[in-house]
């Protein structure tokens, strides 16, 4: 296969980037998109040019690092991660445009690499259970219905890749935040801190400068882990009920 690649090149956070076109002559249909990029980078290095920087880690669809906006879709035309996208998805001779995630809250660091630490800060704001979990509890010691266990598991499948933000016309992070809030809200271990968690994570999300969800559901359609927008409805419920009912106890009584 031969393909033409239009790739976003940007030196650092502050410089203005631009598209550069590369002719790629040695593409096998069995290569993953990242392997194709590796081959191109090897050629660039041999020519003495600077290779294209992109994020990647596990290359098996579980770490969420491989952020690339390919031909108008996060992770390309299929609902998967870039590392799990194969060149057979494209036509011989096709021109493929690769851009970084575009969002105020995800600034470009270099080429296709963006800074997603905003997600980490949202997670650190409340996406945890702050007790020691101790040893593994006996099976069925905490009764949880199969439905709920499955739903919590599905929410927990979010890999924090940011494709939801990239796909959303509003650059909203609500699918991500809703998945993280849901995985705890559904389980008894998460109940103790559920109000505080929803309030803090939403406040952090807003502080990071993500947009506001307008329910277009583009995120759900592009999420490689098929996180459902029903999580966003749950986030809304969690947040509203937390905001109207939470209170702080100070020494000497409630506020």
């Amino acid at each position: 296969m031969k393909i033409t690649l239009k790739v976003w090149r940007q030196k650092n956070r502050t410089t203005k980037g631009e598209f550069k076109t590369y002719q790629h002559e040695h593409v096998s249909p069995d290569m993953s998109f990242l392997e194709m990029m590796d081959v191109l980078n090897t050629e660039l290095i041999k020519k003495g040019e600077e290779p294209i920087h992109f994020d990647h880690d596990c290359r098996e669809g579980i770490c969420g690092m491989c952020s690339m906006y390919i031909n108008g879709h996060p992770h390309g035309p299929l609902q998967t991660t870039t590392c799990q996208l194969h060149m057979r998805t494209f036509k011989d001779g096709e021109t493929i445009t690769v851009e970084p995630w575009r969002a105020q809250a995800f600034p470009v660091i270099k080429d296709l690499v963006v800074d997603r630490s905003a997600f980490d800060r949202i997670q650190q704001a409340g996406g945890y259970v702050s007790v020691n979990t101790g040893g593994v509890p006996d099976a069925n010691e905490i009764p949880i219905s199969k439905n709920i266990a499955d739903e919590a598991f599905d929410s927990a499948a979010c890999i924090g890749c940011g494709a939801c933000v990239a796909a959303c016309k509003n650059s909203s992070a609500m699918l991500f935040v809703s998945a993280k809030v849901s995985q705890f809200a559904l389980l008894p271990q998460g109940h103790a801190e559920r109000k505080e968690r929803a309030e803090k994570m939403v406040a952090q999300m807003d502080a990071e400068g993500f947009g506001n969800c307008s329910n277009t559901k583009a995120c759900e359609a592009e999420c490689p882990k098929a996180i459902s927008v029903s999580n966003i409805a749950r986030l809304n419920r969690e947040y509203f009920s937390a905001m109207v009912s939470s209170y702080k106890v100070t020494v000497g009584g409630g506020e």
Binding site: H73, R102, A167, V202, G209, F240
Partner: protein, 222 residues
Amino acid sequence: MKWLIDLFTSSLGRKLLMALTGLFLISFLVIHCTINAMIFYNDGGTTFSHWGHFMGTNPVIRTLEVGLVAGFLIHIFQGLLLWKRNHQARPVKYSVSKDPKSTWYSRSMGLLGTLLLLFLIMHTSHFWIPNRTHQFTQGEELPLYNMMFEVFSNPWVVFFYVVGCVSLFWHLLHGFASAFQTLGLNHLKYNGIISFIGTAFSIIVPFLFALMPIAVYLKWIN
């Protein structure tokens, strides 16, 4: 009180305001459409004017009208603000956008809303504003039924009213179900019925509204 301010200035709180005012405006549409549909009785405006008079003079309705104006203003203001914020959230746009996986009208609520706002300005300056002004200054209502024949004798006005109704159709088609999702009212058992009612509502109400100027213009009503 700080928590209330925090709530309604947060992203989710602003969306909540959009959903609540949106549903309130939807309930207004039901009443507005029902009363206006009285013109189809074709009885020279007797039934229509009876109810129109009730709506224009009943103290309870007049009080609710203040809420309605507030509802419109909040919905418009929050909508514009959210639109601006959402644009700021992506300063550098993508160069390629192909086969998006969402409907065009769900992505165009700001545009549709702006069309509706322009329509609203035209529509209120045809009927509501002159009527209320007259009530305030002269203590009497204007003959709305007769005014309607005059306004809708202009084909351009009829055209713009129909454009307004078409925008309303698309706006409601996304907005109705979207409001429930924002309120967190999402449940496997009820999602189907919500989207069914939303679709039916967004077809029936704008269709009836569009029929009114057309019927007057084509003299189906006289």
